[in-house]
């Protein structure tokens, strides 16, 4: 195969700038990928940090013009396996390698249908009624667990879990409906 004689002019020639531009464009998708695979949220955030560093260190090996996100996911997947081995703090749930492989393969398989979900989710969140907005913030922004939310909202834990479960189901239905209507 012939070498490309030059870097395409649309890509910045400074590697750091090139990297930041690519990362900026795919950062949210990469974050979702890591959070989807890593059960523990703090672990996921740690892995994401180290992943971005490793990607920068490895950036010379990235072939411009190829899928940056696919390349980034490979590195992230390895970081997840590595982190699992070296974890000093035992998370509540730790994912088995075979499970990670299976879920990662499924994510790759349906990757196209997942790509637009972030935008759709934003629209759906804006349509939520007040009490459900509050629940989203308590659970995901303030990172409260069910017990803490139960205390704060003066409900039983079972009731809070039911609300959350329904909330996620509603959001998922809304996201799917938006995607269907946009492709129809």
């Amino acid at each position: 195969m012939e070498d490309s004689p030059l870097i395409p002019p649309t890509e910045p020639t400074d590697p750091a700038e090139h990297y930041l531009v690519l990362l900026n464009g795919h950062e949210r998708a990469l974050a979702a990928y890591v959070h989807a695979l890593v059960p523990d949220r703090l672990d996921a955030e740690d892995i994401l940090q180290s992943c971005k560093l490793t990607m920068w260190k490895q950036f010379a090996n990235y072939e411009p013009g190829t899928q940056f996100l696919a390349w980034a996911r490979k590195i992230a997947f390895h970081q997840i396996l590595n982190h699992r081995r070296g974890a000093k703090r035992k998370p509540l749930y730790s994912a088995e390698p075979a499970f990670l492989e299976a879920v990662a393969a499924e994510i790759d398989r349906v990757s196209d249908s997942l790509a637009d979900r972030s935008e759709a989710l934003h629209d759906c969140l804006r349509k939520l009624p007040e009490n459900q907005r509050r629940l989203v913030l308590l659970r995901y922004y303030e990172d409260h667990d069910i017990a803490a939310i139960a205390k704060e909202t003066d409900r039983t834990e079972a009731a809070v879990y039911k609300l959350l479960s329904r909330l996620r189901a509603a959001l998922n239905d809304c996201v799917k409906a938006r995607l269907d209507s946009s492709t129809a």
Binding site: A32, S50, L53, K57, H78, A98, L114, Y140
Partner: protein, 461 residues
Amino acid sequence: MNFHDQIDRSFDGQLSPGEWDALQEAVIDDPELRTAYVEKRWLHALLEAESARLPALLEETQWTQPAPVKRPLVWLATAAAVVLFGASLVLFAQSRPKSIVATLIEAENCRWAGSDLPTVEGAGLTAGTLALTEGMATLRFASGATVTLEAPSVLVVESAMKCRLIEGSVVADVPESAHGFTIDTARMEVIDLGTRFGVTTTPLGDSNVFVFEGEVKVNRDDLPEPKHVFAGKSLVSKAGATPQQSDQEVRRVEGPAASPGPGWTAVTTATGRGRDAYLRRGDQNGPTGAHPLLMVKHTDLAPNNERRTILSFDLAGIDRASLRSAKLVLKLEPSGLGFSSLVPDSRFAVYGIVDRAAATWSEIDLLWKNAGPLVSEPLSASVATRLAEFEIRKGSPNRLVEVSADAFVDFLRTHPGEIVSLMILRETGESDQQGLVHAFASKEHPTAAAPTLWLQTGSEK
């Protein structure tokens, strides 16, 4: 309770560890459940990943009080630090009780980065991380096991009986007292059963183990049972599809290394009709003209791994009659193949090719088997003439190698034709067939300078 309900529960910590394991099994086994899992999990993951933006999205300001601890820009600052300090690594601090578990007994030509352990010879090491960017270092663990670390490597010392290789290469020598000594990588766990062995791993997860003597046991996540590997054998673990250093590498012609002074002209293998490639006796990987590395190795133990590098420089426009001095500059690069602790200080020879037919090689199809007189042994005087030699010390940093000799000047002055070809071969062999393969940057290397011939012409002032 069905597994679909369990999926949702797993997001909120509502499953017992046993239920979580059962759910994992079911997700692995049942494709439909797997699809459902990913769909639900993705929404949950998006909410987690974008949590910082939620208040703005929901147009709620009253909830922007105590936010969870976030580290949004830390990595950018560290990335900037990496830009500044080149090979520096930023590593997680380890928090564990600190007792001395190993001693750094030897550090040859070492440069360290981002290590949280002392890096002077003789230092006692607690659990922690060593990041070696150049050279070779040997650790003796309290158990008696000796581990030699080859740059670039990152090793986490965990206990007297265990370490973890994040990336790089190590050779372990384990006496009876330390049987069971373990080296962990992302893909596998190598447990010594009385032996000398080497382990390499890349940041992308490919891990290899080579056993020089004795036997090791390897646990791998994808193997139902531990695998035993015996002397002379190796086990290779590939992480999915690794980005290949392939011929699709974008060519970025770099400027040559800094000029030795005024009056010098640089000609690289990227100049004009210049070419570079290496020959490997087995020809396993086909022609190498587009490879970013030029490999060199001499071995009597595995003849198919013999490698020689050939360079052609286009001297059109150079006033060779007035040539006064010449030197060849090569950038040493890690080949990622073999262990430098198995090769002593190495001597290399540079030959000038005089056989005109042999010098008309092409990057596209040059192979060992069609290289004819270029690979004859020994190189006959009618094919090539020995011009210079140089040495690369064991564990040498990846520096520029400069070779100059009067014979260069004579050869370049008198060589008929504008294209001059040089051959580089290693004369030092190896003590084990997993010995280091030396490599120099080729003109296809994405960052390092191509092989360069510096020429000083003109009359003396």
